[in-house]
Symmetry: C2
Subunit: 330 residues, 2 copies
């Protein structure tokens, strides 16, 4: 029990689930979470009551850091609504954040980064293997996210090549589940929030664009195995996602039918440069993470997420609810 | 006469030529050059004796900056020898440097960035128009340069879209001429330095890879026109280069024949991921920079560069030489 850990973005959707997994480790002595709560939420950590954990509200690239054996870099908004509104801040968090954290790594330490399927841009091959170089418009409105993820991958892999830093890079595909923000602008969140409010579900474009919806427990399982549990030496990049393709329209219809009452589905014009396919080639993931596969069906994942959204919306209406506790953290 | 200007990387090869052009402007009141002299050289500015100019030796991303009407961001190494040795520093200079400089821009000010043809990576189309998304391996050994240039383009264009910052981005193709470092590892510099030392010229690969060698006066002409002289409103990215293709072997043979004595040309194995073609599509440049074209032939450009290298090498042997003066600058 001597490992010191930094989780940047640990109050975020995936970050907070990763913190839960880290807390299962008996060798971890302390977990310092740095999160500016731009898209992360204090409530995502409110169930934690563990003296090993601390939370600092701060931009990661400006934070006063200690020295760590392991650093997990999840400090980035992940939805277009956020990164398109504050692109400079997005790039700063990813790239300058990574540079800042490299200096906080103990000799021999490990830095892990959650990159994204968006490094493939509007992919011309499907499924996308890690070797595919991508088709990203670096002048487009999504470029702050895509290019800062690509640049941070380059940064860490080059730091590994030149300075011998131990790095691991996961390219995370679409993920959904409890602790997504109801207002994050992403399809599943939108659909569920709309259904629970009794509004029509909004689909951008014709809905035939597919997504490989990974339920968060399956995705974080893979991250845990890759980053520390399965003794993987491969630095990545490693695709992590669900390779079952479901169309946006199918998800909308499932949610409308089961939770939407009578309001139905509305089709609106497509958003700019919305990628029309995303499908992970999981050959490398299967080779390195023996036995791992996504186990939660999208229907079951949605059912669990709706349950969480319901509790969340109830909690928002009731300030005494446990969901707004801050636990042992602050 | 009231314009305040910052030139990051102003002691570099192209940067110092751009400073010479800025000094021709009567509306420029002061030019602050920030350069860490990593690949720039104080000697590149030693001919300047103008009270408007000051030089600060500092990393741009850490420099104490004033407030400027115009900022020119040329702070980056440009040769694989340099950026592959210090990839983190390369990314920091480009990306974090740009973020830092955005804060130093006066309201309504203009920030100009010299990006690179390397954003196209190992191009699958030739010539490369600005709309080509490129084929860059973000996990490869050249990625620190290519990806930091792409990311900085994204940063500035997104800052323009969201915050209304005035930006101009030039994608500069291969450039050669006086003030290249004899030790910069690039083909023309290598060949000339080898020829003048009486050594065989070293070609990596079979030499059939082509380059569009732009002579620095022609390239800086285009930059000057784009950035301030021709009243261009287009933010770019704008390709700037020579679209006459010459093979590396042809250049080697020209230098060997005219300056190399008896030593000849040696062919060695190729360097990793050396792009095998680079050719700018100049349609946009011709549309925006009326009448501009590269006027110096590669033979004449080489002749002028050899002259400069000869004086430079002579100066290195004679510490009293004017080439090592620092002029009015420091």
């Amino acid at each position: 029990m001597s490992i010191s850990v930094l989780v940047a973005g640990g109050a975020g959707f995936i970050g907070s689930h990763l913190v839960d997994r880290l807390l299962r480790r008996s060798d971890v002595e302390r977990i310092e979470i740095v999160d500016n709560l731009w898209t992360g939420r204090r409530e995502n950590l409110s169930h934690i009551d563990d003296p090993r954990v601390s939370l600092t509200i701060q931009d990661i690239e400006r934070a006063d850091l200690g020295r760590y054996d392991e650093i997990y870099h999840l400090a980035s908004p992940a939805t277009p609504l956020s990164y398109m509104a504050e692109p400079v801040r997005t790039i700063s968090a990813n790239v300058c954040g990574a540079i800042h954290m490299l200096r906080a790594l103990k000799p021999g330490g490990l830095i892990c980064y959650t990159s994204t399927s968006e490094v493939y841009g509007d992919a011309e091959v499907s499924p996308q293997p890690e070797s595919y170089r991508g088709s990203v418009d670096c002048t487009g409105p999504r470029a702050s996210y895509d290019e800062s993820k690509r640049c941070t991958e380059a940064l860490l892999l080059e730091a590994s090549r030149v300075h011998g830093v131990r790095v691991k890079i996961a390219r995370v595909f679409n993920t959904f589940g409890p602790r997504t923000r109801p207002d994050d602008g992403r399809a599943v969140s939108n659909f569920i929030a709309q259904a629970l409010r009794g509004e029509p579900l909004t689909v951008y474009g014709d809905g035939q664009q597919t997504r490989c919806w990974g339920y968060v427990d399956d995705i974080v399982d893979a991250l845990e195995r890759f980053f520390w549990r399965d003794g993987v030496e491969f630095p990545g990049p490693l695709n992590i996602g669900n390779d079952r393709q479901i169309s946006v329209a199918d998800v909308a219809r499932y949610i409308a039918a089961n939770y939407g009452g009578q309001a139905g589905v509305n089709f609106l014009p497509p958003v700019p440069q919305d990628p029309d396919n995303r499908l992970p080639d999981l050959a490398l993931a299967r080779a390195h993470l023996a036995g791992w596969r996504c186990q939660v069906s999208y229907e079951e994942g949605i059912d669990r997420t709706v349950e969480w959204f319901r509790r969340e919306l109830a909690a928002t209406c009731d300030p005494r609810s446990g969901l707004h506790r801050v636990g042992g953290i602050v």
